[in-house]
Symmetry: C2
Subunit: 647 residues, 2 copies
């Protein structure tokens, strides 16, 4: 087991003023959180009702109503509460805090005397609870409650929600576990594992960690709990006849015997994130090493260049190594977020830029693409290539939308993105008592105790649009600690100065570890060379053969029809083309665009098949925009991978 | 309306000795017909029973049994009977003829007093007949019976089967039609239209032609019969909520208002073939012209280079113009055959190589690929690119098999291929009293009355493996007539001599019309230049952008892993590569193979994404085999389209 990083930094201690994320977090604050609160209260005209608040009011016996929505409807509320709580740390809002408090009270009133909370079973038949762990999401909802309660505690210091969460966790521990007479089960949709570890870390109660560990080690053990439960209860099993089976749930065999990511991509990464948290807190090195091998399989064989995962709509699932179709990608916003959670938990075990590079890739590209500029419409699916007509006419693309949607019946992605952006500072660094590692160059100011001394940090610059990062370090008194600065994997060369003097350091596991006694006013300047880069996929990725993508810094670019006309498949990128880099504060919320001269292929368009060879002979101006802001200018074609002229 | 071609040539009058088709027809005779007879009689150990014969025996009241199989199970038997009858014309077999006769007797015994025949309803509930024209295939089965009965009549001269067919057709005409009190319906799966026209042509009974015409003109008229039937009978409607709706059946609007091929590709082409037959027999020029526009839409926008159609597994259907995915192609063997039937019927209206080129393309490539060398295993789906592992792991490819299967629960394709190959000579030419047009250069000997004189023809050569075709014309006495020789669309130049003297003729609608007084022993020699050709798809075909296919004469080639190793997507074909052409009598039943030097792309295989450009730098020998013999050497990768090195 590597050294681990016990500390994260509360949102209130990191004031973010970032050229990339501030706009996104403002959209969450101004639009996503308020809009979703209205939705949860069924007050959005024209939208399908959520029923989430009403379900709780009915469960509390305050109104008469049947349960409405999915079995996991409660989780929409918990994720909103988590986002709202995180936001309070950096954007105090007494009115929001009051609503949050009232919601905690409502949940407490709905909680059963034994601690159980789940409006679906409370409002249908409580005697049926815990009879379908495979599909009915009680533990999934509980996990989201735990995460929300911990965030609420961190934000307000009040334990009201934590008490509800602990009471539920204690109830779960009384029903499930290794002891005789308990159910030897685990959740069909993982999430409670990470929630339990966070609850353990907030309360110090080892029972919660132990339960999380049980869920992870029990999962997939013979005899399979889900098979027995299905037979015993006569439950249906949707994936029975398909190629996935119990692998859909990562429950076909024990995690330690699973050699590559399988099944539903969100569930898989929630499992891995929870398992990494357990490995860290229990010092389980074998588990960590296994997760490390799954990490490599996932991020080196099944991850899109946008950091997204889940190649297939069928089962919203992983398929097989190097299968990365662009147009039919599932690449659910939640799956990318789940991979970020996994990366974050791995980073808390070992600071290694292999984790942070993926964390950065997915947070700057394939997740934030899930939201429009204003935070009022959302993608569930994040394809890497879209032809709008094809999404309507090709049933294989029925899941792909060419424009963002207002809301979803299954509203998992928008609040998931909201809670992640609201708690973004948690992901930016890891710390011990005398070391801090900067994973994300999130501009702003934060304070951290190091060597027993409060130390202020101010990061400034235009990252990710420019590679120069200035960091002012302000210890309250001189103090020695290690400050590790990540050199991103995309960066071909860098310069580092301290108070104007070059520091000659080589990265270790991708970090420049500056170990010194810091004095107030010390200033670091890290200059990351940030050229426009052509990126090619591994030769085994069939879908990208003969194609090239364009990246600059952590930002993956795409071509849109709005800039480049239709038939993007006819465009080739010469290897010799020079790029112009222009920051456009006016465009798409402020982005850097790339321009170059491409080639448009002419061909015989008089016949379906012709012996006349096409020629890439027409120079055309190309404009690349960052992938994450695609589809903000109406409906049109888009592609990340374009044809490589190989000359 | 163009001039039409009333005559086709019975199989007995065309002795085929062809370098391409003789082997295939022998396989049909030796293996497909006998094997299928055993299958129809439930005598194949280990195979799922067919039940087809048993159903008829039960329907005749000779055994007690429930109906077994699909609602269209009878059609398997009728298609087998048609294939067997055709084969008797060129390969007399008293034992087979006896079995066929006994089967006709069995069907006659199962026929109801009012003429009705359909074992599904006879064995379930006869009062329910004609209540689900949309899905229950009574008319489809009837159509196959009519085709079989006509073939039986042509083969044996006996009218036993024809009488059964006429009695059924008369019954149908009493139930369906424009008159008040009749059902104003039409079949969900077209086929009866062509069957009725053939029955009309065999019997001269105009009622059958009239009924076929009614089915075609009534189809899709408001109020929609299928919508009314579905509501009236409470029938299910599988396609209701999808993008296809009644277009699945080509029944969403009248045929004359349908501007492109839609829905189930087999049904669509059966409809068009039937409509073309009606247009020819009724002189309906407007209908012909509309079919001509559908023909262009289909063959110039939605046809694979193998002649196949039906891009999507969903609905086994057409999608939209230029959507021609290679790996997930449906391209059902039956759909290609249906397109051949459509081409054939169009050729009987107008001799135009636009039709014959497609007929040739589909008969030499995407249909005969449906059968292995021996005629003992079959493809339903004929993809243009296969990676075996992907067909198992990617649910979008669940319909694609990397090796041919022994039989299918839905056994439509093998007998369809058998009946087409058995009656191949019908497709080879069209004739009037004083003209004959050679569409397919099917080597062998045939006799035809022209200008009142029997004229013998002998075609010899190695076509399609070589471009020289020698034709000896032997009229019993000198006689003047036109002999039209098709110049295939793929042919860049040709030479034609008559008795050694060059004839300088230009093709009209793709045919060299030789109008002369022919004397015994006249000899034509047509030399079609047959270079190896690179073929590129229309620039709107996204799936083939940057790719090239290889064709020689009518034969489309492919790369197989067996010859070229795995990872075919890493191979590029230089535009400058010279091909070696070698006929290999020993290989795959005797085929011409092509060889050249290709390039294998190397790339950075240490990372999923890399800034190191791949290079097409390793020359490798490439071997191309004809597409139709792929997957005869075990499981492996295959591709028709490969990467175009563009240099």
């Amino acid at each position: 087991m590597q050294n681990t990083f016990p500390h994260s930094i509360p949102g209130r201690d990191y004031r973010v003023e970032d050229p990339f994320f501030t706009r996104l977090r403002t959209a969450v604050l101004r639009n996503v959180i308020p809009y979703q609160w209205e939705a949860l209260n069924d007050r959005v005209p024209g939208a399908a009702p959520s029923g989430a608040i009403r379900n709780f009011r009915a469960a509390a016996g305050e109104i008469q109503a049947e349960h409405y929505g999915y079995v996991f409807q409660d989780s929409d509320l918990f994720k909103w509460m988590e986002a709202a709580a995180h936001s309070l740390m950096w954007a105090p809002d007494p009115h929001l805090e009051q609503e949050l408090e009232a919601t905690v009270d409502l949940i407490a009133r709905a909680q059963q005397p034994d601690g159980y909370v789940d409006t679906y079973y409370i409002l249908t038949d409580l005697s049926k609870r815990w009879t379908n762990l495979k599909d009915n999401h009680e533990l999934y909802c509980a996990g989201h409650m735990f995460e929300a309660a911990v965030a609420h505690f961190r934000a307000t210091g009040r334990t009201t929600f934590l008490q509800v969460a602990e009471k539920l966790a204690d109830h779960i521990a009384s029903v499930l576990g290794p002891e005789e007479g308990k159910l030897h089960g685990y959740p069909g949709h993982e999430e409670v594992e990470l929630g339990l570890v966070k609850l353990f870390e907030a309360t110090g109660c080892a029972r919660y960690l132990e339960l999380a560990r049980y869920f992870i080690t029990q999962r997939g053990r013979e005899p399979l709990y889900f098979a027995e439960e299905t037979a015993r209860q006569g439950n249906s099993f949707f994936w029975k006849d398909g190629p996935l089976g119990y692998a859909y749930y990562q429950a076909h065999k024990p995690l330690l015997e699973q050699d590559r990511p399988v099944g539903h991509a969100v569930r898989a990464n929630y499992l891995y994130a929870g398992a990494a948290a357990v490995a860290r807190c229990t010092g389980d090195d074998a588990l960590y090493r296994h997760l490390e091998s799954l990490w490599r399989e996932e991020t080196q064989k099944q991850m899109y260049i946008t950091g997204q995962v889940g190649s297939s709509e069928y089962g919203e699932a992983f398929t097989y190594p190097y299968d990365l179709p662009n147009d039919s990608a599932y690449a659910e916003t939640c799956a990318g977020l789940a991979l970020a959670f996994f990366a974050h938990q791995m980073l808390r075990i070992r600071r290694d830029s292999a984790y942070a590079d993926v964390l950065e890739r997915v947070l700057y590209n394939g997740t934030v693409s899930g939201m429009d500029l204003e935070g009022t419409s959302f993608f569930y699916v994040n394809p890497l290539s879209v032809v709008p007509a094809a999404t309507r006419e090709d049933q294989r693309l029925a899941h792909v939308k060419p424009v963002r949607q207002k809301w979803f019946g299954c509203a998992c992605c928008p609040p998931n993105l909201a809670r992640t952006l609201a708690s973004l500072t948690d992901y930016a660094l890891s710390a011990t008592d005398n070391a801090v590692y900067q994973h994300l160059y999130l501009a702003g100011t934060f304070t951290l105790p190091l060597g027993g001394v409060p130390v202020g940090f101010t990061l400034s610059g235009q990252y990710p649009w420019a590679g120069e990062i200035r960091i002012r370090v302000e210890p309250h008194a001189p103090v020695r600690f290690t400050y590790g600065l990540r050199v991103p994997g995309w960066c071909p060369s860098f310069r580092l100065t301290c108070n104007g003097q070059p520091l000659s350091l080589s990265p270790t596991q991708g970090y420049l570890d500056i170990d010194r006694t810091w004095a107030p006013g010390d200033e670091l300047c890290l200059t990351l060379e940030m050229p426009v880069q052509r990126v090619w996929a591994h030769p085994s990725v069939r879908e990208d053969a003969g194609k090239v993508a364009v990246q600059r810094g952590p930002i993956v670019y795409c071509l849109e029809e709005a800039d480049n006309g239709p038939d993007l498949h006819r465009i080739l990128l010469p290897r010799t083309a020079d790029f112009t880099v222009t920051h456009r504060p006016d465009l798409l919320g402020g982005v850097t665009v790339l321009a170059c001269t491409g080639l448009r292929e002419s061909g015989d368009d008089t016949a379906l098949y012709s012996t006349r060879p096409p020629q890439a002979d027409t120079p055309i101006p190309l404009t690349f925009i960052p992938y994450f802001v695609w589809a903000n200018r109406g409906e049109g074609e888009m592609t990340v991978w374009l044809r490589d002229a190989r000359s």
